[in-house]
């Protein structure tokens, strides 16, 4: 049994969670990053945030199973677009707690990632919305949506964990 605690998560704790998630993703700590998700999580990078991702194309629209598949694919060591792994460094800023939706606290932030690969460096910038939930005393992500500034333009491959 998992115990979900209700109640808004404070800004400092939410921000600390976001920084930790960013650090794990940058460092390719795949298992630790995956463990942050709840069982019903969705991970979404839309092309057009106004459209329903069930009927429209997204850059990423993963349910929890597909998040696991994405991680497993990276763990094979044969995910060519990540051979070698991208060098990453991201900053998370402008963190605000927006409010409560049922058991989840909605937190917004801005992410900026520098990705360095053989092809050159790419600067990825987007507005992030996290839905955070306290499960068995630990903060988890029930949802993460990243709206890239240039989401509807032609983008290079982006096979790291955004």
């Amino acid at each position: 049994m998992t115990a979900v605690e209700e109640g808004t998560i404070a800004l400092a704790e939410a921000a600390a969670f976001l920084y930790r998630e960013a650090r794990l993703a940058d460092a390719w700590e795949l298992e630790a990053w995956e463990a942050l998700w709840t069982d019903d999580a969705t991970y979404h990078v839309p092309v057009d945030d106004a459209q329903d991702p069930r009927t429209h194309m997204s850059i990423i629209f993963d349910n929890r199973n597909r998040i696991a598949t994405r991680i497993k694919q990276l763990q094979t060591g044969k995910r060519h677009s990540q051979r070698p792994l991208s060098r990453l460094c991201r900053s998370v800023t402008n963190v605000e707690v927006l409010g409560q939706e049922g058991t989840d606290t909605v937190v917004t932030s801005v992410v900026q990632v520098l990705e360095s690969r053989d092809r050159g460096s790419t600067w990825w910038v987007g507005r992030v919305t996290h839905r955070l939930r306290r499960v068995d005393g630990e903060l988890r992500m029930a949802g993460k949506k990243v709206v890239l500034v240039d989401s509807d333009r032609a983008l290079p491959s982006m096979s790291f964990l955004l």
């Binding site: 069930r54 990423i60 629209f61 994405r70 497993k72 677009s81 032609a154 491959s157």
Partner: protein
């Protein structure tokens, strides 16, 4: 400018020269002789269903606007004001009977006709319309089952002549709809690669690479796709003429013998679709269509239909190409369509579990061919075991390079028509 003698010496039956992917002069010649001459896929009628709908599209690096006028006729217009050359259309899509240039207010109908120009006494009055130009328009626009193609050449083969047997693959795709129609309504993901456009065209029906490039996803997802492209596969690679080619996977799908087995979707999950197909075509034919599956066909030079998704290839420079991709949607199949969006989003685009790895190969290839030795790329795989099928098409096994050889043979006929 590269001379045609040069080109003939760079394309041989079993190998091509690396400079074909890197030489800016050859790229410039390809734009003129291929992209601005032959039939190029522009868009689909379902993207402009209503009178006065429009959507911005491309023919290679050229920006065009695909419009439906108030009578329903379709036009492909260059996005360039006839006054000072400004872009006249900003929005990606919309509904409007006219376009107004923001610079000096010249207005054009969605047929391209010049409608008005402010302070017209400066031109001697409204009658100057007779001598002033409208928007440039593709001289030839034709559609086949909703797929709209344009040719920027005033004369040449008809669209049906250009498509040849590839038209049957469009028919095969449309038959998967109980209403016989495809709808491209799911929006687009745009994926840019630092590679020559022909790297993409060649890869689309290369059955040799999937086991290697995509082993990471095949090994963990239980996907049967890898086996379709193995030494033991009964699938074939077929040159369809006109530079078009396919991986015909239907022999494997027939062996499987399960309706929708090709899509990896048990019929029980899409009961409404299966029922609608049998109601539309009868049980026997409906089952046969659902067993045979969807095509995997590269329609030269820019339309790639890959079972559940549709790609449009857009060259921007000798080493820059964008792939536009959408999930195919079938009219009258809402339960199937949702699954197709989900599957497609997982596979394609910048983060796609398949396409990000294809893109990595295009880019590594582009950097590789810039190296000096050896100068040639080998195209000989399966040449010794090619055969001609009952319809006269050249056929290789699932992993042979039959499609690439045929693409290059057609390439020469366009680049060096003499």
């Amino acid at each position: 400018m590269t001379t045609t003698t040069d080109l003939r010496s760079r394309v041989e039956p079993d190998r091509v020269h690396g400079s074909l992917y890197t030489d800016p002069a050859i790229y410039a010649q390809e734009l003129e002789r291929i992209w601005y001459t032959t039939w190029v896929y522009v868009g689909h009628t379902s993207e402009i269903p209503q009178p006065n709908d429009y959507v911005r599209k491309n023919i290679g690096p050229q920006q065009v606007v695909l419009t439906r006028d108030r009578t329903g006729a379709i036009h492909v217009l260059h996005n360039r004001c006839s006054h000072r050359g400004n872009l006249v259309c900003d929005a990606d899509r919309g509904n409007s009977s006219s376009f107004r240039c923001p610079y000096h207010g010249w207005t054009f109908a969605n047929t391209g006709e010049l409608l008005g120009f402010p302070f017209n006494q400066g031109y001697g009055g409204a009658q100057a319309k007779e001598r002033l130009a409208g928007l440039g328009a593709a001289p030839r626009v034709e559609s086949y089952r909703g797929f709209v193609f344009a040719s920027l050449a005033a004369e040449g083969p008809t669209l049906r002549e250009h498509l040849g047997a590839a038209a049957e693959r469009i028919d095969q795709l449309c038959r998967l709809s109980p209403e016989g129609e495809v709808e491209l309504t799911a929006g687009w993901v745009r994926h840019e690669v630092t590679a020559n456009w022909k790297m993409l065209v060649e890869n689309e029906t290369d059955g040799y690479h999937p086991q290697f490039v995509h082993s990471s996803i095949f090994s963990i997802s239980g996907s049967g796709i890898g086996a379709l492209y193995s030494d033991k596969s009964t699938a074939v690679t077929r040159a369809l003429g006109g530079g078009h080619s396919e991986n015909d996977l239907s022999p494997e799908f027939r062996k499987l013998g399960v309706p929708m087995g090709w899509a990896g979707t048990p019929e029980a999950r899409i009961p409404d679709y299966a029922a609608a197909m049998r109601a539309a075509y009868g049980k026997e034919t409906g089952d046969e269509i659902m067993i045979n599956g969807s095509p995997h066909v590269m329609i030269f030079p820019n339309l790639f239909i890959a079972e559940i998704q549709l790609f449009v290839i857009q060259p921007l420079a000798v080493d820059r190409t964008v792939q536009h991709v959408t999930a195919i949607q079938f009219a009258g199949a809402p339960d199937l369509n949702r699954r197709l969006v989900t599957q497609c989003v997982g596979s394609v685009g910048p983060a796609g579990m398949l396409l990000a790895d294809d893109a990595e190969m295009y880019e590594r290839n582009q950097r590789g061919v810039a190296q000096r030795q050896p100068e040639w790329l080998d195209l000989s795989r399966g040449l010794q075991r090619e055969r001609t099928d009952e319809r006269g098409f050249t056929v290789g096994t699932a992993t042979d390079e039959t499609s690439m050889r045929a693409m290059w043979a057609h390439y020469l006929t366009l680049m060096d028509p003499a």
